[in-house]
């Protein structure tokens, strides 16, 4: 579903944030990327929908080569890729329903069709009763639910999560992870997430990779990697325990 091929990205300062990354995420899979701060995790995730354009290499999502698209086609392709963020990035001026409706408006969905779809989405994340609230009046967990509903509005095949639970307490984190797992199963949603929390990987990821200085030094099934004493993932697990 997501195929990254030999991605390279060097920022103007000379830092090689991505140093030849190959990564395949299968349809319906939850893939987690871990790595220390500055390893290039965010750069990698942002390269998938080309918020960060790599210097070289190709990005394919759902069979479509994004790196070969013009700007209008890229915008259309981005509607098939949802994204959620550590700081939620909800619009403060809009209500919960208004936030969820945003991607529909951007895609030109008629007003008459937006209402029903928004209700459906809020129902999906369990926030039907908050439709008229403004995000400032919600808890962190509720805000991330709104962000998830918004990300799914245009029915994407893929969801990108940039440290989606890092601003949440442990209980809320578990709640959001359950929701993601549930959406993954019910909708067949492919999820690529980055995190510095190994617990997140253990809890919901099918496969995981370790990024170090812009290189994917390891990639495989979570259980396998953690069971293998010499793996980078188990070394990381040892270090945090």
């Amino acid at each position: 579903m997501i195929e990254l091929h030999r991605l390279r990205k060097t920022y103007p300062g000379g830092v090689a944030a991505l140093d030849g990354v190959d990564l395949h995420v299968a349809p319906g899979e939850i893939y987690g990327v871990v790595g220390r701060s500055g390893a290039g995790k965010s750069t990698l995730l942002r390269a998938v929908n080309l918020l960060e354009r790599p210097d070289s290499g190709t990005v394919r999502v759902a069979g479509q080569e994004l790196t070969a698209l013009g700007s209008a086609e890229l915008r259309a392709a981005r509607r098939r890729i949802g994204m959620i963020f550590q700081q939620f990035h909800l619009l403060s001026a809009r209500t919960v329903a208004g936030n969820v409706a945003l991607p529909l408006e951007l895609a030109g969905v008629a007003r008459s069709q937006r209402g029903g779809r928004v209700r459906e989405l809020l129902d999906l994340v369990g926030l039907s009763d908050k439709a008229g609230e403004h995000p400032a009046r919600l808890s962190g967990g509720q805000r991330q639910r709104v962000a998830i509903a918004r990300a799914l509005a245009t029915d994407p095949a893929v969801l990108l999560c940039d440290e989606a639970t890092s601003a949440l307490d442990p209980y809320t984190t578990v709640e959001i992870l359950h929701l993601l797992r549930d959406l993954n199963r019910r909708l067949g949603l492919t999820i690529l997430l980055i995190t510095h929390d190994l617990g997140v990987v253990e809890r919901i990821c099918d496969r995981a990779g370790v990024l170090d200085a812009g290189r994917l030094v390891e990639s495989g099934p979570v259980g396998g990697l953690l069971g293998e004493p010499g793996s980078a993932l188990s070394a990381l697990a040892q270090a945090v325990r």
């Binding site: 994204m83 990035h89 403060s92 408006e105 995000p135």
Partner: protein
């Protein structure tokens, strides 16, 4: 005295009201272009705005007289004063607009791009609505400045409270008219600021 103050206050409100309206109509899009216009346009507009902002209002008032004549056929009177007021306020307000848009959390713009928004959509559906409280505050500052400048425009025959203060207070030594004029100006500024602050607070949902 009321007979003098009332029409003069009306004239000032007329001048400031119209000038504020035209300033928004031109300054808002100009501010958007300053911050988010096509790359080659931005520095050009920026330079023009800087020139506009560096000319002192007294000089600007005189410099735009030909423009006022061309537009209205005369360069004296309340309506004519609207032209220099607007020309002076546009670059000022445009910079405030630009700043208000730049202060919007870049994460929101990023989210917009992630959802496939065009540049125009990002401005119209994300930046402007999110910046609305700041825009209202900027407009309040501009309107208050316009009240002050409108008094100055009165000196060159613009009418309004400034004209009254000069003609009666200064030229005829009627100090009480002068003081009453200043009192009305103070009250006007307080009112504009109070209303603007309230509106901005009400719009701010953060």
């Amino acid at each position: 005295m009321i007979d003098l103050l009332l029409p003069a206050t009306g004239e000032t409100l007329h001048m400031v009201g119209l000038a504020t309206l035209f300033t928004v109509l031109v300054g808002l899009p100009l501010g958007v272009l300053l911050g988010y216009g096509p790359a080659p346009v931005r520095p050009v507009l920026g330079a023009v705005v800087n020139v506009g902002r560096s000319v002192p209002f007294v000089i600007l008032m005189i410099a735009v007289i030909p423009l006022t004549r061309a537009l209205l056929g005369t360069s004296i009177g309340t309506a004519a004063a609207v032209v220099p007021l607007t020309v002076g306020a546009i670059p000022f307000f445009a910079r405030l607009v630009e700043g208000a848009l730049r202060d919007v959390d870049p994460g929101l713009t990023e989210a917009g791009h992630a959802f496939g928004a065009t540049r125009v959509q990002i401005v119209a559906r994300i930046l402007l609505p999110e910046a609305l409280p700041a825009l209202v505050r900027g407009l309040t500052v501009t309107a208050v400045a316009l009240v002050g400048y409108s008094a100055m425009a009165g000196v060159i025959g613009g009418g309004g409270l400034g004209y009254l203060a000069i003609r009666y207070g200064y030229q005829r030594f009627e100090t009480d008219v002068m003081l009453a004029t200043v009192a009305v100006l103070v009250a006007l500024v307080q009112l504009v600021q109070f209303t603007g602050d309230r509106l901005a607070r009400r719009l701010d949902r953060r």
